[in-house]
Structure formats: structure tokens, C-alpha cells
């Protein structure tokens, strides 16, 4: 079974520039998550989708971050404009459904450096 695919693997930008990350979840997984992991910290949920609808975006900095999941499959996370504190690994995860006993499957992430 193919895992969660993310691209790019690495991205270096200057502050105030824009950047976008792409995620393709495991086939058949209705729930998709974007987590932010700052160096030395645990992942923090930014947004959760159920099919193509947003379930939770309470921790998404909406003045600069946006995300979409068109057609309920792959997803894009965008940052515009980027700040130094956005330097982190952005992890995409998926699960079959949104339930406590569902395993989350994570991709390898996109490492973002904002200079």
C-alpha cells in the first residue's frame, strides 16, 4: 500500500515570500491532517479535513496560512507571506475516518526554512 506522499521534500525561502506544500493521502482515506512540527517540539495540528470539508482549523494562522482539499483527495497548504517563525517541518497525515481508534499515517514532511 502506498503511503502518504508529500512534496517538495525541502524548501528554502526568504521572509515575506510565498510557499505551497502538496499532499496526496493514502487511497480511500477520508480524513486528512496538516501538522506543523517545529524543531525540538511535537507536531501541532493546523487543519483537519473530512473529505473536502474543514473539520478543525482552530490553530491555523488564517491571516497567512490557507489550505484546501479539492475533490476530497489531495491537499495544498499555502503560507503567504512567510515569517521566520514558520520554519518547521510540515507533516501531512491521513486516516480512513475521523475516529479515536483510527491510526494516523504520516508522510515524511516538507522541511521549510525561512531566511
Amino acid at each position: 500500500e502506498a503511503g502518504v506522499a508529500q512534496s517538495p521534500r525541502y524548501k528554502i525561502i526568504e521572509k515575506r515570500q510565498s510557499v505551497a506544500f502538496w499532499c496526496n493521502p493514502i487511497s480511500g482515506h477520508a480524513t486528512l491532517y496538516w501538522y506543523q512540527q517545529i524543531l525540538g517540539q511535537g507536531p501541532k495540528l493546523l487543519i483537519q479535513f473530512q473529505n473536502n470539508g474543514v473539520v478543525d482549523d482552530s490553530q491555523l494562522p488564517k491571516d497567512r496560512f490557507s489550505a484546501e482539499r479539492l475533490k476530497g483527495v489531495d491537499s495544498t497548504l499555502k503560507i503567504q507571506p512567510a515569517k521566520l517563525e514558520d520554519s518547521a517541518v510540515y507533516l501531512c497525515a491521513s486516516s480512513f475516518r475521523a475516529a479515536t481508534n483510527e491510526k494516523l499515517f504520516f508522510g515524511s514532511g516538507t522541511q521549510l526554512s525561512v531566511l
Partner: protein
């Protein structure tokens, strides 16, 4: 506010030297406590879910236990391939809606030397 604290931050073991990692949590209505393993440059990989105090789960050299305030990940006779960061996370009952949000700790970096 829900919180997860893991200790120690880092642990170095000799191959075969058993030990335990600790995860203390504060959550309003625990729905589940999760252990994940994270290798460098990779995303977290699911290990266990525990739902209620007294529950235990095992997988190879790993055994996870749960009390009302903390969870332990016991590693028996570790091997170098067990070296990774081990993350603990909780899911509370009061997040609202259909969110499946996990609150992660900062992890324990385990190094097992041959």
C-alpha cells in the same frame, strides 16, 4: 488546557539494557493516549493506542501502560534499531465537533548503542 509532558528528553542505553519512558498528561476527558515512533527525516509512525487506566499493549520489545495521570513505554532488551524519538499524544473529549486532534508531547530521543 490539555498538556503532555515527556521525560526524559533524551536517553542513551546499551543494547540489552531495559528502561522506561514516561508520558504525563493533563486532559479533560481522555478519549485515547497514543505512542508514535519518529525516525530522523520521517513522519511519526503509529505504535499503540490506550483508552483506559490499567490497559497495556505490547509489540515486540515495547510495552505501553496507562494510569489516570501517565503512561509508560517500557523497552525490554533494546536493539540499536530501536533508536528513534518516541512521541506521546492525547486526544481529549472536549475539542468539539468531529475533530480528531492529537496533542503531542516533545518526545524522548532514544539512542541504543551496540
Amino acid at each position: 488546557e490539555d498538556q503532555v509532558t515527556q521525560s526524559p528528553e533524551a536517553l542513551r542505553l546499551q543494547e540489552g539494557e531495559s528502561s522506561s519512558l514516561n508520558c504525563s498528561y493533563t486532559v479533560s476527558g481522555l478519549r485515547g493516549l497514543f505512542w508514535y515512533r519518529q525516525d530522523p527525516g520521517k513522519g511519526p509512525e503509529f505504535l499503540f493506542t490506550l483508552y483506559s487506566a490499567g490497559e497495556e499493549k505490547e509489540k515486540e520489545r515495547l510495552k505501553a501502560t496507562l494510569t489516570k495521570k501517565e503512561s509508560f513505554l517500557h523497552i525490554t532488551a533494546p536493539k540499536p534499531e530501536d533508536s528513534a524519538t518516541y512521541l506521546c499524544a492525547v486526544q481529549g473529549a472536549n475539542y468539539g465537533g468531529a475533530t480528531n486532534k492529537l496533542i503531542f508531547g516533545t518526545g524522548t530521543l532514544l539512542a541504543v548503542q551496540p
